[in-house]
């Protein structure tokens, strides 16, 4: 590893990524300290992901706990050649949070939708922009190419785990319209990301 003379953001991100990948490899070998390290480095981020979807501190705590226990048990499934550690962890966090969200009773779901509508979706601040990874910047550029309303729906779906039906209701468009917005956006995102 050649350390750059002037440490760049990219180099720091690279180093962080390698550290997390190493921690996952050690966790797969049964190293509890590595799990503690991983938790320290990533729990606040994953907790934010869970909480944004569930909008309930207690449930988000339950899911966070499940995530790290799942990581402890299946860290061996992580392949550093195919996945970035943080995206891998975020995927586990989102999947578990969404499954939990979907399993709630309808009444509770409705309340959640109403609350969700009150939480504004954060566009990254200027400071956060400085720390944005190359992959993230690319994704943002591709999202910017979409119709603003469509990009908004994609973001809501990602951050809140809202279904087609919920998004359609919230944005007051027919279900079919919402489906074609999202599907067209996903297709265009894919084309853009592969360019």
């Amino acid at each position: 590893m050649d350390a750059p003379v002037a440490p760049s953001v990219a180099a720091a991100q690279d180093a962080a990524r390698r550290q997390l990948a190493t921690a996952l490899a050690r966790i797969a070998g049964g190293d509890q300290q590595a799990l503690q390290f991983l938790y320290r480095e990533t729990a606040a981020k994953l907790f934010a992901v869970c909480h944004r979807i569930l909008l309930d501190k207690g449930e988000a705590e339950d899911v966070l706990q499940e995530i790290y226990i799942a990581v402890w048990r299946r860290a061996g499934a992580f392949d550093p050649n195919r996945a970035s550690p943080i995206s891998w962890l975020v995927a586990i966090a989102r999947n578990r949070s969404i499954d939990r969200l979907r399993s709630r009773a309808m009444a509770a779901r409705q309340r959640t939708i109403d609350e969700a509508a009150d939480v504004s979706d954060s566009a990254p601040t200027a400071l956060a922009q400085l720390e944005i990874s190359q992959e993230h910047r690319r994704l943002m550029d591709c999202l910017d190419d979409l119709e603003p309303q469509h990009a908004g729906a994609v973001r809501s779906a990602f951050f809140e785990g809202a279904t087609y039906g919920e998004l359609a209701q919230r944005m007051s468009v027919p279900l079919g319209t919402m489906k074609s917005w999202i599907r067209r956006s996903l297709q265009r995102l894919r084309e853009c990301l592969e360019r």
Partner: protein, 231 residues
Amino acid sequence: MSDDPTTEGDGKLIAAEYVLGVLSTAERRAVQARIAREPALRAEVEYWEQRLGPLASELKPVDPPPRVWAKIEATLAADESHRTLWQSLPFWRWAAIGSAAVAAASLVAFVNLARFQSPNPPLVAKLESSSGGAGFVVAIDSGGAGLTVVPAALSDVNQRALELWLIAPGEQPRSLGLIEAGRPVHVSVPAELIQRVTPLSTLAVSLEPLGGSPTGLPTGPVIASGKLTKL
């Protein structure tokens, strides 16, 4: 590119829709089941997880309370014993000695008897969570008229019921009734389902409202599943 939403919904986009999170419970469950069997779909899901994942960095980190890590540590400690247990093949004997569970003991007796007396090896299943943790061990009575479900890892089911499902290839899940997280339970298989108790079928446990699924199909998340195998 086709603008017909019905065709766009199939095929490759289903992975993107799954990862984005817009699918309903039933659709999500169908995709999750397919991911386990279809490497191409799995790769597609991983592609989208990697591509969309960076969006999460737009959220402001929120420090979880210290009790979360404390609970994780406690679970890990309890897990250690299970881990070694699972890794050793003579699990059945361990289960008999370890968990003073009468049902588990009779299970071992049954398995051993069946092994020596029957030309057909007995069927068992290890139901694992999607995270790979073992959740339940199931042994099927000879003839398939009943089965014994032994919980392997205690899980907090939080005011909900655990329902056991039998899923024959290409069919809807059929309920086998409620089981418990804390003790072994013997479940009778309805006569019309006995024929479906074969190594081609899958058993799954879902979290349901107290009293069980109101619809006759799983409504909550599947916390563990596994194929029947010959011992």
